[in-house]
Symmetry: D2
Subunit: 289 residues, 4 copies
């Protein structure tokens, strides 16, 4: 719901004293106005993580100027850092299959202005959702994913990657896409592919998690939003939630309950991501809410 | 919080039409007053489960009379059944190690009258909690569990079993006991040993689940109350819950949050069990709350 | 997600012994197959409530036959009762204003088959949502609600009532309609108008509940689905939920979080209602989930 | 669970740019190591709030030295500020009546080392809990509170205040004390008296909130931990939570469920308070968790 233009600076570096003072001093000297600031030290790696939102108009330069002036300080502290501008909306490409509850939810948040992104296109291996997507004025691309033809499948993923590049995609969202991304794409877009898995990971990895949950007799089911890596359903977790079920609930009931948390968890995780609130530390995430 | 004496009848049998009519008809003909009634059909096994609470004084006979008159009907429907009397409190033997948050919680519920059971004794492999237990007027038995001596450990479990039998124990509660029950006891007391595991099973089976959760970077942690079987942490689940954590929480913080759900989940699961609300169906439970 | 046709029988009557036996006996004698059964006694009014789902094909007659044969028994126990047929979908007329998160959610559940109802039309006092509604093939009626013209407003409500009657509406859903129903309509459609209020009632009745919540500094906000009565936001509550906020959340953030629980709570409450799971007892509801 | 000694600095002042830079610069210049830092701007009052934990040994002076050197900076920014030392545990005086679930919970957290405070005494208007308190080695004071004798009651509160002063009490905890504090004590100890109210405020202020909740037919009940002010149950809220109930739950069941959230909410709220995580802003709190 940001209305005034902001720069968001995220950094990480080896922990030591004086980091906050140096960075906030740098900003203060240039009359920059910090409106949100978050810090975290990871105890295992002794690494320091920081996120700051600065009013864009309070600084006497643009992002190029920021880069020029900040790099010296960043080098001194051995920082990984990036800065983003709220005036440049991120480009989100959504992949879907037939199930549309997550897509319906994301598109509503987008058209109501809650999710501040550009959606240059939606890609699917089924034609079913074309009408709904196009009603929003968003291009819909159908790309076949023949199940028993590895070569055709590889070509399909090539097409997806090409579309993503053409649209200068920032993030690829697997909104119940039901297809496993090839390892080379997981590597190429590390930290840029977000998946919603319909279980409380690490429980029930892989296919049919609600059936697995039903068999195990759990009393809560869950959903997990995570970055996609080469290891199936094992990437850094961004957000999770659970909902209570009981013995009276069939697999179909669990699927129904699950849809409600899947869409909420994906929407929250994606929002954190596009607002640069998620920093990755090994296989874990720091989420500055 | 039951004040009036009740019989609780729990039955299961192959599903067919007319079961409710037959059982409720049997009770109605004898002027029995049903105050709570729950039903469930398991779709996989096509088995029907039922629980009924009947005001004891509304029936013209006691439990012996009930057995005599009900068995014909039970045989006709091929029922597994049992009936319990709220006037005879169940005997709960509690096993603990050094951590006492679950014990503290259960003993408070017991002394405030919320948990309507008899606790004939508490058994521990450490002396630490003797004073607290004995303050309640409950006998405390110390039984050493030497870690590297399998024979002594086996003898220790024999002693535990003997104490449990001597006190006509109904249920053995592992309130963070931190020891693995030998298979022969799991079999002998099937459906009568309740454990609290400090994770959201099936995630993080075995030792140090909070460390496992920390490593995996989950955003919620949980606790699971389940019946103990020979398969470690794999028995029928009675109750579970989760609590939100974030990147700022250390393993110690997770342990602290975890204690609060462990004690609540164990207390709920144990209450369901002692009120005969839990029926086991394969490796799952039906919990008539 | 019901696939086989079912009759749902709901009854209430003064409590006494033998009710379950009589009703389940009646059904069993006619070879009826009960697939779900729930009971409740309200202790204050000593009234007994019951809900049973019966496989339609297991009974030797249709609803007319059921009425003919069951009325004798119903009279004997002085029952209020009704029976519904899953083959006849309920007619839901939805009223909206400009905010469309609840509408978007309900229409998605409807078009995915999760919400098994007919939606003969959507009515609004704004034109904004016409396109979205008509894309679903559902008629959209714009009815002006001039704010300072009581006479015009009364006429508008007359039109709404007329449309509702013409479409043989069963239930009127106020999906963030933001207008107060006139008392005579609240009375005429008692138990048939469902509202979603954006607070955890009874806190923050009336206008701008998120502003009220912000001023009071609560740490959770909520939503309430309830039947509409003449007393503003005081009718029987069907469903509620809450979500955690903190000091960092502005009113806008609360509005955003709130939308997610509003739509979920309304969807759950409406599902309970259309599946005849809600029985009203005084100003309270019994919800047989 | 803090093991290393820390200073906790909390400040508030009119918002302007450069505050973080000035304070973190002050600390960095003295080689202070900040291990936790939180910031918040209240939009209504345009006031800035800050909390920083600094490793005590990293600074070249003690609290007296800190005061001497920091006051100039504090004056410059017109700060309200205080600094506390984890080596000096806060003194918590607990007031109870007969219900002991909160007391039992707090004393367990205290004796297990989770709650890092000193408890110089427990005061009650009933003798019931003397044995339990004294088993912990904590002095127990019985002070009669005759219900219909205002003068005797006033004298009783005088005694409570005297005991609190004698023990250099920092915080007075009303752990289900069931008595209304006189206004002059609310004023004298503003921000230092913590109450647990057994409802989700602002719903169900005053006596018998579970009965009120039962009458209203809510689907969730709650508990609220708040600072005590002259207005009954209307002080700044520190922490709240809710739990689901349903039509089957009697007032007694609600009381039982309620106890579990009351004790958890009070324990969380009190921990935030003693760790200086709660800053009051008007009638609201900022809780830096």
């Amino acid at each position: 719901m940001t209305t005034t233009r902001r720069y968001t600076l995220t950094t990480s570096c080896p922990d030591r004293s004086g980091i906050i003072a140096a960075v906030s001093g740098f900003i203060a000297q240039r009359k920059g106005w910090i409106v949100e600031a978050s810090y975290h030290t990871d105890l295992e790696t002794q690494r320091f993580f920081m996120r700051q939102e600065i009013l864009a108009d309070s600084l006497p330069f643009d992002l190029t100027g920021f880069h020029a002036q900040f790099s010296g300080l960043a080098d001194e502290f051995d920082m990984d850092w990036r800065i983003s501008d709220s005036a440049r909306k991120k480009h989100i490409v959504i992949l879907v299959s037939k199930q549309d509850h997550c897509l319906n939810d994301l598109l509503h948040r987008w058209r109501s202005g809650e999710l501040q992104v550009d959606i240059p296109c939606v890609i699917s291996n089924h034609e079913d959702l074309r009408g709904f997507v196009e009603w929003h004025g968003i291009p819909f691309h159908y790309i076949a994913m023949p199940n028993n033809n590895e070569q055709a499948k590889a070509a399909a993923f090539e097409k997806i990657a090409r579309l993503f590049e053409q649209h200068q995609g920032d993030t690829l969202v697997l909104a119940r896409f039901m297809q496993i991304m090839p390892p080379y794409l997981c590597q190429r877009y590390l930290g840029r592919i977000i998946n919603i898995h319909h279980s409380f990971l690490p429980s029930f990895v892989g296919a049919k998690p609600y059936h697995q949950a039903y068999q195990r007799g759990v009393k809560l089911i869950g959903a997990t939003c995570h970055y996609v890596t080469e290891d199936l359903d094992a990437g850094p977790i961004i957000e999770q939630d659970t909902v209570r079920i009981d013995h009276g609930d069939s697999v179909d009931d669990m699927v129904r309950y699950g849809r409600d948390i899947e869409k909420t968890v994906l929407a929250r995780g994606l929002r954190y991501h596009v607002e640069d609130r998620v920093l990755v530390c090994g296989n874990k995430t720091i989420v500055f809410r």
